[in-house]
């Protein structure tokens, strides 16, 4: 307690201390330890409350002030961009390189001496670059470079803070500026998964030669979230050189990467990968087998049907469901009896329902009618469920 006293003595102004606190020193020493502890907690709590109130007020007011300041600056920057780029009289007639940009005017009117000003301007330019294509986007890119805003983005990329690195990557990727592949490749294997994911996306967008080179070095998990994000980037980046993803099915040991490549193979309809996908039907991981079966179904791989039927009995239920789903998608008609058998035999509702769907997908009206007439009541209900056009699943 003496130490708390010493601290307080140093913190509190001397006259105040002598007049109001010091007389209680003897009283405090006479108190039992738990009361002294309680007083300590009270003092600490009161100071914390006051500090938090002050912090709340200061941060809220500063937030509001900064928002207003940035908003004002943003409006000014936007009007300049609109005036000198969108409404430029020569924009339709000459090439983007020939348009003279009034960068000095931007500097004079916006200042751009402070970091926050340049950051707001970067946000404005990026926003318009994202929403406009063609000449306008190219002129915006030139403006970004001429105002040396790219220097800020490159500096961010060199920062030791991972979130700054991501900001830099975002900006450079959006403005389609070159980033040394060595730097990006290093970031694609970063231990920080947010940075890793953003670097992978930037690598795909910016790499001129091999946008999927980092797949070769991928050792870490490619989580479902990362897969969704990369899938979006890969399928929405214009002009991307799409390789045959079966390459990684054959050579990579990374199961997540295999699952991801299967999705990409299906999306890009890479029929020449079917043989590589069929090889995965013997994979020891049931998750991979299920995804491969689904991919074969979506690729209408008639050649795979026999193998799917052969392997059916040894598979866990979710793989069996996938096989029946694949047969329903392929619809060759060769295994309609198998589907009928499974529909009538299986005790598992998921198998039964998928078999009913597959039968319906084959469009064999006489079989459906016969099942509706002669199948047991529970199977009939399942079939009716699948036949109802208002029920999706």
């Amino acid at each position: 307690m003496a130490s708390l006293y010493d601290i307080l003595e140093r913190l509190i102004p001397y006259p105040f201390w002598v007049r109001y606190i010091a007389p209680f020193e003897n009283w405090m020493e006479a108190q039992p330890p738990f009361i002294r502890f309680a007083i300590g907690v009270i003092i600490l709590s009161v100071f914390s409350i006051l500090f938090m109130y002050a912090l709340l007020i200061i941060t809220r007011l500063s937030y509001q002030w900064k928002s207003r300041r940035n908003e004002k600056f943003r409006q000014k920057a936007e009007s300049l961009v609109i005036e000198h780029i969108f409404l430029h009289p020569d924009i339709e007639r000459v090439s983007p390189e020939q348009i003279t940009l009034p960068d000095q005017q931007f500097r004079t009117e916006l200042g751009l001496n402070k970091y926050w000003q340049r950051q707001v301007l970067i946000d404005v330019v990026m926003y318009y670059h994202k929403n406009f294509a063609g000449k306008t986007a190219q002129i915006l890119r030139r403006l970004y470079i001429q105002l040396r805003l790219d220097k800020i983005s490159y500096r961010k990329l060199r920062s030791w803070r991972w979130n700054k690195k991501i900001e830099g990557l975002h900006e450079l990727a959006e403005m389609q500026l070159q980033v040394p592949e060595v730097i990006m490749l290093e970031l694609t294997t970063s231990r920080n998964r947010v940075l890793r994911m953003e670097a992978q996306a930037a690598y795909i967008r910016l790499s001129k030669n091999e946008p999927f080179k980092f797949f070769d070095h991928l050792k870490e998990n490619l989580l479902a979230w990362e897969q969704l994000f990369l899938f979006e980037v890969i399928t929405h980046t214009p002009g991307l050189n799409i390789p045959s993803f079966s390459r990684w099915l054959n050579y990579s040991d990374n199961k997540d990467l295999m699952l991801f490549c299967l999705k990409l193979i299906v999306h890009f309809n890479q029929f020449n990968s079917i043989s590589s996908v069929i090889k995965l039907l013997d994979h020891r991981d049931a998750r991979i087998r299920e995804a491969a079966i689904d991919a074969l179904g979506q690729l209408d791989a008639i050649d795979a049907e026999d193998q799917l039927i052969r392997m059916y009995v040894d598979q866990p239920t979710f793989c069996q469901v996938a096989i029946i789903r694949a047969l329903g998608r392929i619809r060759s008609g060769r295994y309609i009896d198998f589907l009928r058998e499974e529909f009538l035999r299986s005790q598992d509702y998921a198998v039964r329902k998928e078999a009913a769907r597959a039968i319906i997908a084959h469009g064999d009206e006489s079989l459906i009618e016969s099942l509706l007439l002669h199948a047991p009541e529970d199977r009939k209900r399942t079939l009716e469920h699948c036949l109802d056009p208002l029920i999706k699943y």
């Binding site: 502890f37 309680a38 938090m52 509001q64 979130n163 947010v194 989580l223 036949l387 029920i391």
Partner: protein, 492 residues
């Protein structure tokens, strides 16, 4: 003389012993709160940094995003059901369905739904994977605009749990969001809540999010327009309590993977695990906590790695009880549910087989959630007796009171600070200060009420007194909407 001396000595001994117990008990609770505050600060900071770059468009557009079934039981919700369903149908997510379970309403809830959404009965093959009261009919809409909507009409099961279970049986997607039909859900709720399921290496079995009080918020046709702190005293206290409990408590427990409560008002669950764990228990008065406990037990007993996650975003706005009568019913039920859950899962307490839940969360729930009201009441009685017998040291008593009181204000202020530093739902700083000032009167006005209803809930449980679930009578948003749009009329 000797007897008097012995009694006096005994009383003196008891006095010292109890005083020491109270002091250490309070000190331990306070230490736990400080630890929780630190953990929650770390968790919120980590969450904010990780999510500051997230582009949710990836989930929104992706054909590979997991489907979600939104399950909302409805019982006699005729007044607001249409707005509420419309609000649920406008959530931002590509692959989801809305399942409204009409739990045997005696009003026109079902008729209104049928008329408004052009519903027709379908030949739905209802699989009773979790046992429920019989389902009478399943409806879907003829109108392509409402293809996401499924309405299940079932016999009243006298509990939300039974209706939710029927919804789970009908759900076709691997994840389901359980909510109340009268909750206002933020547009991006599904996007935010599904993310933890996608970004963990180990299986996430449930995700919760922050629920806030909507009593004075501006709401139009089930859509939240403006967040305003509740104006009435009771809901205002509840807002404070919710911020503290969700942001400080649950966030910290989530960080330690010890969370056992995902609120019934808003929770996203892994359907497979829920079904394997047996679904909601319709006899439980704290069915949300009970189900998470059972899901966790299932995972621990089968030695499956898992996580229960919590996100600090305010995703759901609900109407808190505005009258003492409704509030007392709710809190008594919660208290009864807590002791019921502790009793049912007593084997978990202190059992290392159940990991953090057994060693930390449940002992905490027993010692500091369930026992605390009893300690407070006995403390009060002790104070009174000591005062009457003249054995009280008033200076010490006052210091101890201020000790607990000042700490409770500090902890509530920390929770508000976390909320304001990160989310800034309120427009003005004065609204925040106003809320902070409520923390000063909360321990005097609101906390005793809570303590009383907790004791009442326990009394109901131990005496076997029935507590009907019933319908929580609410003032409804529609009425308040009128108030906010016509201020002159209300002031008159």
């Amino acid at each position: 003389m000797l007897l008097q001396f012995t009694l006096s000595h005994f009383w003196h001994q008891l006095h010292s012993l109890y005083e020491g117990f109270i002091f250490y008990y309070a000190a331990i609770i306070m230490s736990i709160y400080v630890v929780l505050a630190i953990f929650s600060a770390l968790a919120i900071r980590q969450f904010r940094r990780r999510n500051s770059f997230v582009d949710y468009k990836s989930i929104l557009n992706s054909p590979h995003a997991p489907g979600i079934s939104v399950i909302a039981p409805a019982y006699n919700e005729g007044a607001t059901i249409i707005d509420n369903v419309r609000s649920l149908l406008t959530l931002n997510y590509a692959k989801y369905e809305v399942i409204i379970v009409n739990d045997g309403s005696t009003d026109d809830t079902l008729e209104k739904l049928i008329r408004e959404f052009e519903l027709v009965p379908v030949k739905f093959d209802y699989q009773e994977r979790i046992v429920t009261r019989p389902v009478k009919q399943v409806f879907r809409s003829n109108n392509p605009a409402y293809t996401k909507l499924i309405v299940v009409d079932k016999e009243n099961g006298k509990s939300k749990a039974d209706a939710s279970n029927a919804g789970i049986n009908v759900a076709s997607y691997p994840l389901f969001l359980c909510t109340d039909v009268d909750c206002i859900i933020e547009k991006n709720t599904l996007l935010h809540m599904v993310k933890p399921f996608l970004e963990e290496k180990i299986r996430v079995i449930a995700v919760g999010a922050t629920i806030r009080i909507a009593n004075s918020c501006e709401i139009d046709q089930g859509v939240l327009l403006r967040v305003i702190p509740p104006k009435k005293l009771l809901p205002r206290f509840q807002e404070l309590e919710y911020i503290r409990s969700f942001l400080l408590g649950r966030m910290a427990w989530s960080q330690m993977n010890g969370l056992i409560i995902v609120s019934g008002g808003l929770g996203l669950f892994d359907k497979e695990i829920v079904i394997k764990a047996g679904g909601y228990d319709h006899t439980s008065f704290a069915e949300d906590m009970e189900m998470i406990t059972r899901m966790r037990r299932y995972m621990e007993e089968n030695k499956l790695p898992y996580r229960v996650r919590y996100i600090p975003n305010s995703q759901c706005w609900t109407e808190g009880p505005a009258t003492l009568k409704v509030f007392s019913k709710q809190r008594t039920r919660w208290a009864k549910g807590l002791i019921q859950c502790i009793h049912v899962h007593r084997r978990v307490i202190g059992n290392p087989k159940y990991g953090i839940m057994g060693l930390l969360t449940y002992p905490y729930m027993v010692l500091f959630e369930w026992l605390a009201p009893f300690v407070e009441i006995t403390g009060l009685i002790f104070y009174i007796v000591s005062a009457l017998t003249g054995t009280i040291n008033w200076t010490h008593a006052l210091i101890l009171l201020i000790y607990v009181y000042s700490f409770s204000i500090a902890i509530t202020t920390i929770a508000i600070l976390w909320d304001q530093l990160t989310f800034k739902h309120y427009d003005s700083v004065w609204q925040v200060i106003g809320l902070c000032l409520m923390a000063i009167v909360e321990p005097i006005l609101y906390h005793p009420l809570n303590t009383f209803f907790s004791i009442r809930g326990n009394y109901f449980y131990f005496t076997g007194k029935n507590l009907a679930w019933g319908n929580m009578s609410r003032q409804g948003f529609a009425r308040r909407q009128m108030v906010t749009t016509q201020p002159s009329e209300t002031s008159a």
